[in-house]
Point group: D2
Chain length 371, copies 4
């Protein structure tokens, strides 16, 4: 069976990670092209990763006849349109988180996928991160009894690219960027049968990024699930000292703690400093928590390998566009809760052009909000 | 200058800790008596700690003429009455957390203290725990810039004594028992000028203690302070594996993490097990986090020494009955928020006979609630 | 280019790990056969790993014409003979640690490899463990200045298979089993130009395995390198609580600590226990350090992938049979030092039928020792 | 009973720690004087600690009639002479580690103590450090079965005062300064009945202190005890990043790890840095391990309180001058071993003017060595 051919749509930070993963860990896939709107980026990326073709025309990129999969690594506001174009061009599509900016977009993506019989995978790598996946397995084995409480946090000092700061492109700040991880991971831990009942959230802005953004820089969200389970997600663009990604699972028969970055690291003291310690770690003089195989430990290879196997064996991905849509609904509820100071019940289907409008309100919104 | 004479009112878990502290770390104090309603307890306690007199009559205990201080270590619902009796008997009083069950009680205590010119100290040992106090100092030095987020959690597998399970005696469950620590500590970290604006909370019951209690066994509270600071407190009576007490302080210039129990411990693997690893740690076979000088590390000696010095030098304690009342108000707001699903603004002055009524509602309340 | 075909010689603990690695991480290799002297083992192993052919005749296994590589996972005393047979049969060979039992064997293996122009790789996975490899890279970047001291320890509660207990098959105990890791890793850290000058060692026997073995159960070895560098290796078959594998690198400009097992783990408290926490961890009730991707984190995939690439691209492995021979010489010196209480200078070329004889002495030796 | 009156002989780093301890934790003692050869130091020290009298004349300091205890905190080469003068002046004496420079000196001190019926305590604070003491207790409870292996390390970036660099004052480098801790602690762990049989050691010099010293900057020592127990001590003046003090106890039924500095700390990330993180920690920008109650956690208060109680109640200290002499003998053996590359059997009674001569040899020795 020949290799599954993949075109990368995007040439930024996350596209780079995906390219490394296909190359090292997904032998059944072959990167056959890369798209960027910048010719220089496209060309450099293709050369760096040994990809034969590069494109600055999206239609052309998606139109390659000998290609099976489009891997969408673009800014959030482009996810829906590009995904729909890709399935129309006959591609199976894997879409980086968050799925898109609105529920309407999500619905259109799902409809398009079904109409063209193409698979859509929502790329939630936390559901594949090997340490967290090990935790999930032991919970399934009954190690901690029944889960009643979970905590997940992902925090760092700010986004990789400037487009995140612009809520018209990103849809929101730290919560939009990373809260999606926690929400998806809770659902993965609890299993398909779990139902989120409500979301409460608190946002903080203007912490360390000044005029660069009006997005929230720190957020705290509480999700209630049926069967009495509570989950809390903490996200930040204002946490210095490198990436933090931790989980905690409390059950009636025990507890598990896992830390994805500092918890895997070597501990280094360096008078002079050195090249790189950890994603967004800052200077490396003094003590640092040195990471290794960061991409593997975050589950990207496992995620991409899974999608390629789904495509090759006609199976449904463990995280689908429907999951992405549910997470988006929870993000919407969180933003709205931050405005009202009330727990927001699910389902919650406001009409709004981007999630953060629900917090900042109509005066700031680029469109009217209908709840 | 002769030693300051103290009578211990109570002979349970916390009284035992206080007695050890006076003996080892507060040479300026002398324990001259102990009260328990049980003669056996009073007698045994006095013998264990070398205390000359024991009492089963409270009036007699408080009436000792040659005694300066009453240290109140009784169930929560007795705090107010005994404190007032004690100041009437001319004692300075240190009262274990939480201060009492109602704002009205708190007011009466404060009024009585002033009327008789006696000092009241609210015994919040977390404001004295040396690791946390070191953190506070470095924050004051500017180590982490401006605080915008704090987290404190205290969790274990359930209370020391059965009276905690009975909300008529305790006033509430895990939140009442331990949330008071987090609320007080936030205020201590931010300084006298900080003002709590609102509280949101989530409660969970029926986790591992079954019919023994109707109190919340797990809780999560969010406090908003002015200047945009947010604090989160996690409390549990359902967390197995021993005590957990952690803090996290996020500022615009850095972050600090501290862990009071596991974070100080020796790490032991024992095939056969041994006597004691940590408060509420359970069996000691396999891996355990062995604690040492637990009482010192929690700040009890520093707290008691501070009060004795205040009494001797006529100074105001760093945590007063007023602080205890403010914390109680926050506890009230948290319970009410858990019932309404809304952020509760402060000041919040409901008339209720105990905080948990605000969550369980009037059907369960032993009295009507007036907001 | 077609896949490189590999026959596994051995079907025990380590063969199982290798099979998993080829399957998941080395797409350029294909397992075409497995040998075990036990038909049941061979058959079961082939079925488990989807290998087409199994053998109980070694000659037949090595004689497959369409196979490029033999991967030797047999007890130590068989390494030399099987390796030589394999190269004669035209295979490139990767040999599990330690290389063999005597310097003479090592020389014969090397001579045979050269005579038949076949590659020999010494399978020292610690030189590929990603956390340790990251440490090596940062040392190369100058993060800690000049190394002057290193520590490596590998400890657990005893071997996987009974043959390790029999020194005629294993050549020695904890040191022979695991000291080879530390010795090889020191050399890898310091680079090809480093020269070991002397070895001192201390052995302890009869700790927890009773009559099952006369081998050392705990050992401590000190290696002096030129340029004044000192390394210490600690090994144990008597350390309860699961695998321990740690390193420490001290330089004139800093220090690095890394822990391969506990240092990557999730921390679990389980009342009931669960299936598996970590290699040799014992019961899983109470606190455990839960590992994940253990095989990956130990570097096995990287090691095997490297060898397959060497074979395909005609390059020299980073750990050769010559490295294995040097490590064996250091092991010999360590055993002899334990007997004499003196530092043993290198080169050290005793004639002895197995390393442990140099410690236990001629009375216990199955052959005479000639220094 | 009135307070026990103490004169501090010395006004440097360790004297400062002792003064803080007496003041905060030893209410039964009263500091009545301090001696320094520098008037400025003596005067400033007395003022800082509220001590009534200061001396620059040693005889005068020791001659105070109303004083019971001399606490000797001087450079090593002065310990013997001053101790003997102090007992002659009728003082009980506590002597900082190491006891003195030669076995002859140790004998004279012991003889003098007996002749004048004065108590001599060897101030080994590690035998009082509460975390390590907790470990000792659990070992006594049988938590880890029979000890067969121990490790202790104490490392930092170099001494507090310049006199340590001068071996005529210090007697040796990192080993002399800190190896004494490990040797004493092993004996304390194993109990009075344990007998050290041999010592092996390795020294390294010229690492980071350049021409400032000819002393060893890094050392590694192995002690064999009867009953087959092995202990290893690692010491350094060349380890950057702050104090390291760790222990490891391996027994036939388990293992314990404890870390006195990083293992108790709060973890801080500070962009700007702050005042002080830990003894010898260097700059505080970036990540630091913030210590608290360092003096308490090292056991100084417990040690001094113990001695004062011994004096008041006429009991024998747990660490006597005889213990100090045994440790000194082990230090001598270590230095000699480093020169010969051989394990040195105990008892070992060379005649030498200072321990390091046994390593550097007679050409460097300020006197001849007689073994």
């Amino acid at each position: 069976m020949s290799r599954t051919r993949v075109v990368l749509i995007g040439a930024g930070f996350i596209a780079d990670i995906h390219a490394e993963c296909y190359h090292r860990f997904v032998p059944d896939a072959e990167l056959v092209g890369v798209y960027s709107r910048s010719e220089a980026h496209a060309r450099a990326f293709a050369r760096k990763h040994g990809i034969a073709r590069w494109f600055i025309d999206l239609e052309e990129a998606l139109g390659q006849p000998d290609c099976d999969v489009a891997d969408v690594c673009l800014p959030n506001h482009l996810h829906a349109r590009v995904t729909i174009d890709a399935v129309k061009a006959g591609k199976h599509v894997i879409i980086e988180k968050p799925l898109c900016l609105t529920i309407e977009e999500a619905d259109s993506m799902i409809v398009a996928g079904r109409a063209h019989n193409r698979k859509l995978m929502y790329a939630e790598e936390l559901c594949f991160a090997p340490k967290y996946e090990r935790v999930r397995q032991l919970v399934r084995e009954g190690a901690v009894g029944s889960i009643y409480y979970m905590r997940q946090c992902e925090k760092h000092s700010g986004p990789h690219s400037d487009w995140f700061y612009d809520f018209d492109q990103s849809g929101g700040g730290a919560l939009m960027d990373m809260g999606c991880h926690g929400f998806a991971w809770f659902r993965w831990m609890l299993g398909a049968e779990a139902k989120a009942l409500s979301v409460y959230a608190q946002m903080q802005a203007g912490l360390i990024h000044g005029a660069r953004t009006r997005c929230e820089e720190n957020s705290l969200s509480i999700v209630e699930f049926d069967r009495g389970v509570v989950g809390i997600v903490e996200n930040s663009w204002a946490k210095l000292g490198g990436m933090e990604d931790r989980i905690e699972v409390c059950g009636t028969g025990g507890v598990v703690y896992a830390d994805l970055f500092m918890g895997n690291s070597a501990l280094t003291y360096s008078e002079k400093g050195y090249g790189y310690a950890m994603e967004k770690a800052g200077p490396t003089q003094g003590w640092t928590f040195t990471n290794f195989e960061e991409v593997f430990n975050q589950g990207y290879p496992h995620e991409l390998k899974h999608f390629i196997e789904c495509v090759r064996n006609d199976r449904t991905p463990v995280t689908t566009a429907e999951d992405g849509r549910t997470v988006l609904e929870m993000l919407n509820a969180a933003y709205y809760s931050a405005r009202t100071g009330q727990k927001v019940s699910l389902p919650f289907r406001p009409t709004v052009s981007k999630p953060i409008d629900l917090w900042l309100g109509s005066a700031n919104a680029s469109s009217s909000i209908r709840l």
